[in-house]
Symmetry: C2
Subunit: 475 residues, 2 copies
């Protein structure tokens, strides 16, 4: 029980005690502080006092609040790290050529013994393994013949119904009849691309873009024009407006909510403008909302689709494996028949049940907290281990970091050097059809922080500082 | 206990008794006779005598043996029904246009209350629902994180190992490393087509061909040249040899074992010749072995792939959802990444376990027996209800019948008339890129025979005999 002394208020006393814990290293950068409720009990003070104490520490830059995650000790080092600048791109439409890199990255990231900072997977510790397994088992026992029958498009109705309900969260008002389930986000995107474009057509994409999407575009014989990105606000709309005027675009493909690798989040006003720009030439938008639920902002960001009144947005989800193709519904449904015909039924029913019983929302809350912590830890470790001139994104969601290394560093060389030390990472040129970003890397923060990860990041820092990773090496 | 009389042998007495049961209608066409072992007990004779009796009845055309299924009462009516002749086709390369029909057929076949003679589905009564559900549940409980992780190509190793073992049955010697698992037979074929052909390329296909495959080809922007078929031996190799010489073919796509809809089975010698013909121009073969396990011949037919020594055959399976792409392995694996990335893990592991514990083989034995009976019953019902001039296939496997109606009958009209009476069927023009087979229909025999099916076939026969189904109807 604390009693206010004449010269300092009660909350300042609490703040002072916490500050000591931080200064002495008992609480280290990235550590989560006890919840406000817990702090009340620990210090024997009221809720108001505890909140005041934490706000005071936050004002002084010692801790940082993360919505729905609590308060964290702030790294002083991180303050000095800059964010990458707006990306630069050429304007020519290009065929894509990142294929072999993707296969390699997946292969190496899955190898036991390799530190998985390459492919952007969440660690299984972050997944609701037990719960989903039990639901799958229960659904399998209960469902009988229906679980074995072909589930033709539009796909399992219980799942589509659950998703339509969720669409309210992202500003939409979809019905089960607007949705088609697929074998995953990858198939959803492939179907959309095929619905709106023919080989040789040009697609406007974000730069940087997820390499898997670039490879899909490549395999379909399409070309891309890369639009520069702001590290926080996403697509450079002025650049897009110019591109729309100067060439015929079959579609624009974007990840407005937490682009991979940037973690950028397009403001609502930009989402409206994006639709207006595309509407001038009736260009459809393929909206990949794969990261929409992984927000660390104060609420679920809206989809661009939720602003659309013309059916011109083909909205793709992920875990949910679902797709709302707007006015392209019939075309997409027909393509699904010739792509994979049906989607495995039991996993769909299991996911529907997981959503219906509230398990999915609980899982997402835990996942957002875990990713927030993991991003914070990784950012700090990178700030500590890498040279001071690097630039690092401050993503508002998702679970990857995008790092700009000194200009003379070759990300491809660094990738090879790191792999020789059993560390996988994703080199920048994979995220561009034109091999931009030669000195960028993306780090996966999907795994709980461990000493092994800390050592790997320290090793990477050492490699970046060594002459071996420079583009002109000394022999 | 029978005792031989002076004027007839013991086995003739047994045969005489059985014949009476048939003539009197106690045993009706399509009924299975008691097993030989049972007949011994029933008539109190030796095994040899019972076998002799059945063989004598078979020689006289009263019963028919079906390998591994036993003896069945033969329909005399069926004897007078002819088989369709070799199909005729034009030689021009065509774009395909069967898309909307496929969607419609799937939609209508799935509707409750509609007699499902259209889409070729097996009835759920014929599927091992309970066993597979239990295995799925057990695998889900046991597998944990692995069942939720991305299963990237080449896919689940336990399943690939089981399939490699089975490849011995079809004359092959595949290893787990030769195989890639997919989201189903449809995805397997799509990947193969994309691996060997670019939009505008020409694929040689069987005529008639499964409409789903024709629609895949259409959606990929490919063209087809249709090769005529013999109703029993499959591809007309002389016609194929001519096509190979006169145009550049990107691939040949065939179902050598029990083509859908013909049920034709290519003899081994033809399979060898097929490879030779294609080898002259280094044309790859996409071999769809979807029906290979559904043989009613005396043993599992070999795949064409098992004769190949050059890696030029891309072999696609079905239930097993697997694909052995030969020298196109890397290309197919890379396309799989951009098509659907991963395949649902749990169903793969469940199927692997079903194979490993012998359940799959037991299921296949039961399924072959069921399909044999169902094909026989349907053939007889058709022979009884339809006009005498129709021609009907005698498939050596699979579970569909292909029926040539009188020349003046429009299968499309018949389809509409039947649907108005809640009966679905597949009209012939769906099975051709050039709308051949205007007076053919395909009937699904995947469901256990019931009075409801019998009534539906009688109704169809009535429609065929009515003037409404004729191409020139009288007003």
């Amino acid at each position: 029980m604390l009693v206010a002394s004449p010269i300092e208020t009660l909350y300042e006393q609490v703040a002072g005690k916490v500050e000591k814990l931080i200064r002495s290293g008992v609480l280290r950068p990235g550590d989560r502080l006890p919840s406000v409720r817990r702090a009340c009990a620990q210090h024997g003070v009221s809720l108001t006092t505890a909140v005041q104490a934490y706000l005071s520490l936050e004002n002084r830059g010692l801790i940082v609040a993360r919505p729905k995650s609590g308060f964290f000790v702030r790294s002083q080092l991180l303050d000095s790290v800059r964010e990458p600048a707006r990306s630069q791109t050429g304007s020519a439409a290009r065929h894509v050529a990142v294929g072999s890199l993707q296969s390699r990255l997946f292969d190496e990231s899955g190898k036991p013994g390799v530190v998985p900072l390459g492919a952007a997977y969440p660690g299984t510790e972050n997944l609701p393994v037990k719960k989903l397994s039990l639901i799958m088992a229960a659904v399998a026992r209960r469902t009988g013949a229906r679980g074995l029958a072909y589930d033709l498009p539009p796909g399992a109705e219980p799942l589509r119904r659950q998703l339509a309900r969720r669409s309210l969260d992202w500003g939409g008002s979809l019905t089960a009849d607007d949705l088609i389930t697929t074998c995953g986000g990858t198939e959803a995107l492939a179907l959309c691309l095929r619905a709106v474009a023919r080989p040789g057509d040009v697609i406007a994409v974000e730069s940087p873009s997820y390499f898997g999407t670039l490879q899909q575009i490549e395999e379909l014989g399409l070309k891309v024009v890369e639009i520069p990105m702001h590290p926080r606000d996403g697509l450079d709309l002025a650049a897009l407006a110019r591109a729309v005027k100067t060439r015929r675009l079959a579609a624009c493909l974007a990840v407005p909510n937490f682009n991979n690798p940037l973690g950028s989040l397009m403001p609502d006003e930009n989402k409206r403008q994006l639709l207006e720009i595309l509407a001038t030439r009736r260009i459809p938008l393929i909206e990949d909302d794969i990261n929409g639920e992984l927000y660390q902002t104060d609420r679920r960001p809206r989809t661009v689709q939720s602003f659309d009144r013309t059916g011109s947005v083909l909205l793709c989800g992920s875990f949910s494996k679902t797709l709302a193709p707007g006015r392209y519904y019939e075309k997409v449904k027909s393509l699904k028949l010739t792509s994979t015909l049906a989607t495995a039924t039991l996993p769909q029913l299991a996911i529907a049940e997981f959503m219906a019983n509230g398990g999915y929302d609980r899982h997402l809350r835990a996942l957002r907290r875990a990713f927030a912590t993991q991003l914070q830890r990784m950012s700090e470790a990178v700030a500590e281990a890498f040279p001071a001139e690097i630039k690092v994104t401050r993503p508002g969601g998702g679970f990857v970091l995008w790092i700009e290394l000194p200009a003379n560093i070759s990300a491809m060389k660094l990738h090879d050097l790191a792999l020789a030390r059993n560390i996988s990472l994703a080199p920048g040129p994979m995220f561009s059809a034109t091999q931009q970003f030669p000195n960028f890397i993306r780090l996966n923060c999907g795994h709980p922080w461990t000493p092994r990860l800390a050592r790997a990041v320290a090793t990477l820092g050492g490699l970046v500082r060594s002459p071996d990773a420079a583009t002109v090496s000394v022999h």
